[in-house]
């Protein structure tokens, strides 16, 4: 009993700490951005051979760190399961959640969270072994389907099969590794999740060519970064860190030509973004003039990030598709830098 007292008192003091109001000040004071990412999803967030985190979601963390701290390497990655991600963000343990999180009404409206944009437009698909001889999801009546639990995937599958009057056996899996093991062992005929994640999963199979993704995409999965309610400045910073990368691509600015473009006095849009003229975009966000310059210099524009992580040259081999800029037939559309 006597020993319990000091412990109780010190713990009480600890829990009395609250989530601070200004995330920006917190991050700048700490000197490092805490970013919640996947526990390992090739192309989106996974450590590479030398232990460095890489991926489209990771690039978003790096962009925010570059904007806020001037250094894209000053990020502490916190791998999170889909189950704990929102709680960890709400508790203030991380500053931003960038973890293939689908923007849904319920999540946006009832969890005390805000979505700060969409860094990947995804949709749920089905992967089957080619040997199965199936060419359409409509032929999957009675199949066993591996589904990662705790995701919107389960709801979409239930709805799709109900709508089409088909039955199926859901085989819930907790992690993507378990999903692969179940699928390859033949515990399920079909593996369903976001099409990008299917590509990521297939890329680590021994024989990726033996498997195919069916043409049906059965859901809208806008994936994007998430922040806490109550700090609008921080929401703006995360939102515009992503938009800066999109606008840079639209303006044709990339990590190689930005110094040249910034020096060109006849290019006010580029100069405004890069902070080389009188425009004070950075100050409006509470950041310095170089915020977007640092993002593009250190992380690149959206196209560079996409091609490096999930594009044609990578194991995932994903098309830009919906994620092309609006001027190229896609729906990635950043508000103007005015």
């Amino acid at each position: 009993m006597k020993k319990l007292l000091p412990i109780a008192v010190s713990l009480a003091a600890l829990t009395a700490m609250n989530v601070s109001a200004s995330t920006l000040e917190d991050v700048q004071e700490r000197g490092v951005l805490k970013c919640g990412v996947s526990t390992g999803l090739a192309g989106f967030a996974a450590p590479n051979d030398s232990g460095q985190w890489e991926g489209l979601d990771v690039d978003l963390c790096r962009a925010v760190a570059a904007a806020v701290l001037g250094d894209s390497e000053k990020v502490e990655y916190v791998p999170l399961t889909s189950k704990v991600r929102f709680e960890v963000l709400k508790s203030g343990e991380i500053d931003v959640l960038s973890r293939v999180t689908t923007w849904t009404f319920t999540r946006d409206a009832s969890l005390g969270l805000n979505f700060a944009g969409v860094n990947y437009y995804d949709g749920q698909g089905f992967m089957v072994p080619k040997a199965l001889g199936v060419t359409s999801a409509k032929e999957l009546d009675g199949a066993s389907i591996c589904i990662q639990t705790g995701t919107t995937t389960e709801l979409n599958a239930a709805e799709y099969f109900k709508l089409n009057g088909m039955t199926y056996e859901p085989v819930p899996v907790e992690t993507s590794a378990e999903g692969r093991s179940n699928y390859l062992a033949g515990r399920c005929d079909v593996y369903t999740t976001d099409a990008s994640a299917l590509a990521a999963q297939r890329s680590v199979f021994e024989n990726p060519a033996d498997h195919m993704v069916l043409p049906e995409i059965i859901s809208k999965e806008p994936l994007g970064p998430v922040v806490r309610h109550g700090d609008d400045q921080w929401l703006d910073i995360v939102k515009w860190s992503h938009n800066a990368m999109l606008n840079a691509e639209e303006l044709g600015i990339n990590s190689k030509n930005l110094d040249e473009r910034g020096a060109n006095n006849k290019d006010p849009s580029a100069q405004g973004l890069l902070g080389t003229n009188e425009a004070k975009l950075g100050a409006m966000l509470g950041l310095d003039k170089k915020w977007a310059y640092n993002i593009i210099k250190q992380v690149g524009n959206y196209s560079e990030s996409f091609e490096r992580n999930v594009g044609k040259e990578t194991a995932l081999k994903l098309d830009r598709g919906l994620n092309a800029l609006w001027i190229n037939g896609g729906i990635q559309y950043a508000p103007p830098l005015k």
Partner: protein
């Protein structure tokens, strides 16, 4: 003057209270309790305050909303349009199913292994020791994963599976068995079964009375068992076999029809039973060994047959030692069943504490429900076993 004296004696200062050993202990306890209460109060109020500031409402109204997901093993009718509450109920029943099956098999396994470990046969007793030492020293989580891995990787996929006998097929998607479907007239078989049970109970009472009065032994157990099995069987034949068998048949991707036991359930069931069985074996061994050898010798000296000695002298005394730790093992097995999530068995944690939690984002509420339900199950098992324990406990005569 005398009044002052009394007053002096009664003057209680903080210092004197502190110096007094008894009152100091009480003060310390009070301070500690206040500290603990403050600590938990602080956590709760902080959580509520923080959630409030984020605009999150705490409440259980989400339970009535449609769950929108499917579950692959349902003991009651369930559809994705049913509520989160119903989904949780399906999960709870799955938890109870695996815990119940696990407790039965673990008990059988444990008692067998415990008794055999004391066998005079060297090979048998060593074998049991190997079983106990290996299984109880490997984390149960790994055993669950191992069993699941064995089942899904070693058994064939449905299209390559061959029937062991008519209607019995083992695949990596489950063991398919023929399912008897009762037809009209099967109700009479149930009635015959009830009559058989009632007869067996009454006959046992009668046999006990005869034994007490005359000392004559009637094999009541065998006659009772014959009645319980024989009467329904006879009725079954009289009614002209009122069941139709549903045989599993390969249709499309999977076998349809029949009765299926999923590999997830089997893996969890095997792992929990075998793991807990090892602990129960040790408890049983300890219980039997705790009965003094003099009891056995005395029974032999009185001319009691060896198997009666075991059943009537040793086991009843051993049970007094066995039951309390056995309760703990039953509770452990039930709680360990929450590891089901690693292999995707849809138990309470996977439904209300997993998918529902994720779809609604109500982590605090969902977890509170799961915690509350586990507490309730555990306390119920504990209460039942304690009633049994009181019945067999040593009564001073």
């Amino acid at each position: 003057m005398s009044g002052t004296k009394i007053q002096e004696k009664k003057t209680v200062t903080l210092g004197s209270l502190w110096r007094d050993k008894k009152s100091r202990a009480v003060i310390m306890q009070i301070i500690a309790v206040i500290g603990v209460l403050l600590f938990f109060g602080n956590i709760v109020s902080n959580t509520v305050e923080n959630l409030d500031r984020l605009g999150v409402k705490v409440g259980f109204d989400f339970l009535t909303e449609p769950a929108n997901y499917d579950i692959n093993q349902t003991l009651i009718e369930y559809d994705s349009t049913d509520s989160h509450f119903k989904a949780g109920l399906v999960g709870l029943l799955n938890t109870l199913l695996v815990a119940g099956c696990g407790i039965v098999v673990a008990t059988l396994l444990g008692f067998t292994a415990g008794v055999l470990r004391l066998s005079n046969n060297f090979v048998v007793s060593r074998l049991m020791q190997v079983y106990v030492e290996i299984t109880r020293n490997i984390p149960v989580l790994l055993q669950i994963l191992l069993w699941h891995g064995i089942l899904i990787h070693s058994l064939p996929v449905p299209k390559k599976a061959e029937a062991v006998m008519e209607g019995v097929i083992f695949t990596n998607r489950g063991a398919y068995l023929p399912q008897p479907i009762p037809q009209e007239g099967f109700g009479w078989v149930w009635i015959a079964l009830i009559v058989g049970i009632v007869f067996a109970v009454l006959f046992k009472k009668y046999a006990n009375k005869v034994q007490e009065e005359t000392g004559r032994l009637i094999p009541a157990i065998w006659i009772g068992a014959a009645a319980i099995i024989g009467l329904p069987a006879l009725m079954f034949i009289i009614m002209g076999s009122p069941v139709e068998m549903s045989y599993p048949a390969l249709k499309g991707f999977n076998y349809q029809g029949g009765f299926v036991i999923k590999p997830e359930f089997m893996a969890l069931w095997f792992a929990l039973s075998i793991y807990t069985g090892a602990f129960i074996a040790e408890i049983v061994r300890a219980g039997i060994q705790s009965v003094s050898h003099g009891q056995t010798e005395a029974a032999h000296a009185l001319g009691i047959k060896p198997n009666f000695t075991m059943r009537l002298v040793v086991i009843p005394q051993a049970m007094r030692v066995i039951i309390p730790p056995l309760i703990s093992q039953y509770l452990n097995l039930t709680k360990n069943s929450s590891l089901a999530i690693v292999i995707g068995y849809m138990d309470l944690v996977a439904t209300i504490g997993g998918i529902s939690l994720n779809q609604t984002g109500r982590a605090l509420e969902s977890m509170a429900i799961v915690l509350g339900v586990y507490l309730f199950i555990s306390l119920s098992i504990s209460a039942l076993m304690n009633i049994y324990n009181r019945r067999i406990a040593l009564v001073s005569r």
